[in-house]
Symmetry: C2
Subunit: 550 residues, 2 copies
C-alpha cells in the first residue's frame, strides 16, 4: 500500500454528482476509487509513451487530468471538475516529503558536492535574484492591468511562487552518463531551488508589512539563513541518529521489515519535527535523505537496501503523478474562473507579464552566476560551464510545477477555496502559467536540447581528458582518480602546501578534508559504505544514487 490518504478527502466535494444518494463515507470511497483508477491509467499510459519524442511524465499526467476533469464536468453538469479537493496541508504533509526525501536519498553525492558552489549559486542566490525581479515586476505591472487589493506580502509571495522551478522534464532528456556536469547542475539546482523557494516563502509570510522597507530584505535574509541552518542540522541529526540506532542495536540479528519501517518513519519524523519547531521540513528531509543514503543505507541488509531505494522512488513518483493529475483537473474548475471575474484580456496580460518576468528573472542570474562559477572554479577540471550549458540550464528552469501551485494555494486560498476575485485570479493565473510552461516548454525541450547539443557533441563532454594539473592535484590529495587515466602521471608533480590548494580549488580540498574526517570519526560511529563487515559483495545493486530511477 502507498501513502495516499484521506486528509484531502475530508474536504471532499459532496456534489460529485455521481452518487448523491449515498452517505459521505461511501462517496469518499467512490472518489478514492476513481482517483486511484485514473492514477493507474496514468502509470500505464506514461509507460507506453515513455520513448515518445514530445510527451513526458508530467505532460501525460496533466493531459489525463484535464480529460478526467472534463468527464467529471460533464457528469456533474458543469458544476465541478474535481474528483477530490486539493488541500495545501495534504500537499505539504504527505505529497512533498516523499518527493524531497527521495531527491536527497538518490542524489549523486560525489557530483553534488563537487559542483556544490555552482549549485548553491543557482539554487540559492539565483532564487533571490529571480524573486526580486519577479516581485518588483509584478508590483509595477499588475496595477496597470487593473488588479488591485494585493499587499506587499502578496507581491513578495508571487515572487517566490514564480521563482520555484520544475526541472523534472529536462532531467528526463539529459543523460547523466553523457553530460555529467550539466545533469548534476540541473538536478542539484532543482532540489536546492525547491527548498529555497519554500523557505523563502515562509520567510515572506512571517514578514510584517508595517516594518521599514529598508530592513525588509535584511530581515528576510536573516530569517532565511536561520531557517536554512537549523533545518539542515535537524535533518543531519535525525539521519545520524537512525544510522547509529540501526548500527548499534542490530548486533548480528537483522530484521528487514524493522529496518525499512525505522528508516521510513524516522525520515518522516524529521519532516514533522521540523514543521513542529517551525523550521523548513523540506530542507530537513532533504538532508536527512542525504545522510541516510551515506550512512544508514549501508548499515542495513541487502534486501532493505533494494527495498528502500525503490520504495522511496516509487512514493516520489506516485506523489508527482498525483500532483500533476490534480493540477490538470483543477484547470477546469469553473468555480474559480467564475469567482475571479477577470476578462480574458486581464488573464492574457497577467500571463504575458509573468512569463516575461520568468524568462528575464532566470536569464538575469544564470549567465552572470555561470561566469562567476567559472571564475571561482577556474582551476578545476570538468567544472567549466560553457555557453551551451548555460542556455540549457536557463531553459531547464523555465517550467513551473507542483510547488508553485501549492504555494499559490497556500497564499491565496483557504482549504482549497479562494474567497475573493483577486485571489481567485492569482490562483487561476498560476495554473495557466504552470500548464503552459509544462506543456509547451516541455514539448519543446527534447528537440531544443537535441539541437543545441547533438549526441556527437555530448559524448565529447565525457571524454574530456583531465589536465595534468588535475591529476597532480588528486594525486597529491591521495584521492583516487575518478576517470580511468594512468595514475603514474601524478608522480611527476611536486607537493604543495594545503593552504595554496585550498585557495586554488576550494571544493576539491573541502571534499578531501571531509573524507578524511568522515573516515576517521564519522564512519566508525555511524557506519557507511564498506564499513560494516557483513556487506555481501556478491550482490551488486549499487548505492541508491548509483542507478537511474528505472
Amino acid at each position: 500500500m502507498v501513502a495516499i490518504d484521506s486528509g484531502a478527502f475530508e474536504s471532499l466535494l459532496a456534489e460529485t454528482g455521481l452518487l448523491n444518494e449515498t452517505g459521505g463515507g461511501h462517496l469518499r470511497v467512490v472518489a478514492f476509487s476513481v482517483f486511484v483508477s485514473v492514477l493507474c491509467a496514468c502509470i500505464v499510459v506514461g509507460h507506453l509513451f515513455e520513448e515518445n519524442r514530445w510527451v513526458n511524465e508530467s505532460i501525460n499526467a496533466l493531459v489525463i487530468g484535464i480529460f478526467s476533469g472534463f468527464v467529471v464536468l460533464l457528469f456533474s453538469k458543469g458544476t465541478n471538475s474535481h474528483i477530490l479537493r486539493f488541500d495545501e496541508d495534504f500537499f505539504f504533509l504527505y505529497l512533498l516529503p516523499p518527493i524531497i526525501f527521495n531527491a536527497g536519498f538518490q542524489v549523486k553525492k560525489k557530483q553534488f558536492f563537487r559542483n556544490f558552489i555552482a549549485i548553491m549559486l543557482f539554487g540559492v542566490v539565483g532564487v533571490f535574484i529571480s524573486f526580486a525581479i519577479i516581485s518588483a515586476g509584478c508590483w509595477l505591472l499588475f496595477p496597470k492591468l487593473g488588479i488591485s487589493g494585493l499587499t506587499i506580502r502578496d507581491y513578495l509571495a508571487l515572487g517566490t511562487i514564480f521563482s520555484s522551478t520544475d526541472t523534472v522534464c529536462t532531467l528526463q532528456v539529459l543523460h547523466q552518463d553523457e553530460t555529467p556536469l550539466l545533469y548534476s547542475l540541473v538536478f542539484g539546482e532543482g532540489v536546492v531551488n525547491d527548498a529555497t523557494s519554500v523557505v523563502l516563502f515562509r520567510a515572506v509570510q512571517k514578514f510584517s508589512v508595517t516594518e521599514a522597507e529598508g530592513l525588509t530584505v535584511l530581515h528576510i535574509g536573516a530569517d532565511f539563513l536561520y531557517l536554512f541552518f537549523t533545518s539542515t542540522i535537524l535533518g543531519v541529526a535525525t539521519g545520524l541518529l537512525t544510522a547509529y540506532a540501526i548500527k548499534s542495536l542490530y548486533f548480528g540479528r537483522h530484521s528487514t521489515d524493522r529496518e525499512i519501517a525505522l528508516m521510513a518513519l524516522m525520515a518522516y519524523l524529521s519532516y514533522m519535527l521540523a514543521e513542529l519547531l517551525l523550521l523548513s521540513g523540506i530542507l530537513t528531509v532533504f538532508f536527512c535523505g542525504i545522510v541516510m543514503s551515506h550512512y544508514t543505507w549501508h548499515n542495513v541488509t541487502e534486501s532493505s537496501r533494494i527495498t528502500t531505494k525503490h520504495t522511496f522512488a516509487t512514493l516520489s513518483f506516485i506523489s508527482e503523478t498525483f500532483i500533476f493529475l490534480y493540477v490538470g483537473m483543477d484547470a477546469l474548475d469553473m468555480e474559480k474562473w467564475r469567482m475571479s471575474k477577470s476578462s480574458p484580456g486581464t488573464f492574457i496580460g497577467i500571463f504575458s507579464s509573468v512569463m516575461l518576468l520568468v524568462l528575464l528573472g532566470r536569464a538575469a542570474f544564470v549567465f552572470p552566476l555561470s561566469a562567476l562559477s567559472n571564475y571561482l572554479q577556474r582551476g578545476t577540471r570538468n567544472t567549466r560551464i560553457t555557453l551551451k550549458h548555460q542556455v540549457v540550464i536557463w531553459w531547464a528552469g523555465l517550467m513551473r510545477g507542483a510547488v508553485s501551485i501549492a504555494l499559490a494555494f497556500n497564499q491565496f486560498a483557504t482549504s482549497g477555496i479562494s474567497w475573493n476575485p483577486t485571489d481567485a485570479t492569482m490562483i487561476t493565473s498560476t495554473i495557466i502559467v504552470v500548464l503552459f510552461s509544462t506543456v509547451v516548454f516541455g514539448i519543446l525541450t527534447k528537440p531544443l536540447i537535441g539541437w543545441i547539443m547533438p549526441h556527437s557533441m555530448r559524448s565529447i563532454d565525457v571524454s574530456d581528458p583531465p589536465t595534468p594539473k588535475d591529476v597532480a592535484f588528486e594525486a597529491e590529495l591521495g584521492l583516487p582518480l575518478l576517470s580511468q587515466d594512468d595514475p603514474s602521471q601524478g608522480n611527476a608533480i611536486r607537493r604543495r602546501s594545503s593552504l595554496s590548494l585550498l585557495l586554488e580549488r576550494p571544493t576539491h580540498t573541502i571534499h578531501y578534508l571531509w573524507r578524511k574526517f568522515d573516515d576517521s570519526y564519522m564512519r566508525p560511529v555511524f557506519g557507511g559504505r564498506g564499513f560494516v563487515p557483513y556487506v555481501c559483495d556478491s550482490f551488486k545493486e549499487g548505492e541508491p544514487s548509483e542507478s537511474s530511477n528505472g
Copy 2:
C-alpha cells in the same frame, strides 16, 4: 514514507493538553510526531526483546501503548489518554488492507491449498460454530449480569467480535520448517478467520430484527455465501488484470517504480472497489494478494520483487504495531470507563462469561472438525492432525486482537466515541478481553508449546516418511515428490482411474488438475513462475511466500 495518514487525526482531540495555545494544524503535527516517535520506539524495543522467552511483538506494543497512555494521562491531568482518536473507518480503510493483502501475498500457496479442506473447516465452519455459541451464551448470560438495552443484532455482533482470532503470537513461536502442517493450519485459519468474521459481521449488520427468527440463520448464511464468492471473484479478477497488464504492456522495457506503483495501487483499488460494491474488501484483497504472488509477482523485475515483498510486509508490520499501540492507549481512556457506569463486579462478570464462551466456543469446533478433517483426508500423507496439534490449534485461536477491537468500535461507537453506558461497557469489555488474552495467553504460549511439543518431538514431525501409497499416488499423477525420497518406489504400483483417486484424495487431485489447467491456459496469458524468459536465476530471493518475514 508509509501509509499512516490523517484520516483519524481529523477527529483528533483538541484537548491533548500539550500545546493548547497553538492552532489545530500545529496540534495535529504534534500528535503525529509523538505517535510516530512512539512507533519507532516500539520497533526498536521489539527488536531488542525479539529473543525473549515471554514477550512478543503484540505484548510489547500493548505495554508501550499503556505506558504512553499513562504519560499522556499525567500531562492532560487525567482527562485523556490518547495521542490520537481511533476511527474505525481509518482502521478499515488504511490499516486492515495492508495486513490482509500481505497475508495473501506471503501465504505458502502449496501448503495452503494442500490443507485447504482443514483450513476452510476451521476458518469458516469453525467461526460459525463459535459465533453461534458466543452469541447464544451472551444472550443467556448478559441479562443476568444486569446488562440491558442490547438488541438481537448486538448479540449476534458480539458473537462475531469474539470469534475473530489473532494468531500472530502463536505463529511467532511455531517454526514452519519444524512443523509445516501445524504452521500452515494455524496461519491459514488465521487469515480465513479474519475474513470470515468481518464478512459475517457485515451480514449480521444487514440483518433486520423484524424478520422471523427461523429464517435468521438461513438469511445470514445466504448473505455470507454471496459475499464470499463475489468478493473472491473480484479479488482474483483484479489480480489477473494486473498480471496481464504488466505482462502485455511491458514488452522488453521495464520500469521498477511503475511496476511497484501499479501493484500497490491495484491491490488497494481492489479493496476499494469491493467496499464500493458493498462486498467484503478483506476477502477481495486477500485473494488479490494470492493471485498477485502467483502471477503478477513473476512478471516484474527482480528489484520489484524484492521491493514489493518487503514493502508489503513492512506496511503490514507497521499497521499491526499501530493497532496494538492504540489499543494500549485506549485501555486508559477514562472517558469510556466513566461513561460505562458499570461496577467492577459487572466487568468481572462480563469478562469471565466472555472468556468462558471463547474457550468453549473454540473447543466446540477444533476437536470435532479435526476428527472430520482426518476422516476426509484419511488417505493423504502428512495431513493427519494429532491430538497435540489440536491442542495447539485450540490455544492459538484464544487470543483476541485488532479485528475484535475494530468490529466493537464499528458496532458500539460513532467516530470513536460511545454515547450510552451499555455501548461503553461493551467496548471497555472488548478491550479488557483483548488485553488479557494477548498479554496473559501470549506470555504462556511459548512455554506451553515447548511443553506440549518439545523440540525433539517436533523434528520427528518433519522426517515422517511418506507411505508407499503416497509415493504411488504422486507418481501416478506425475507430480514431483515434495520430499527427497527415492522416486523408483512409485514404479511398483499399478495405475488406477482418475475418479477413484479423486474420491480417495480430493485435495491432491484438485491440486493436480489445477496445475494442469494453470500451465495450459493461465500462465501463457498471465505469466507466472518460470514463464517469462527474462527471469534471472542467479538471483535467489525466492518467492515472497518462501521466506519468513525477517
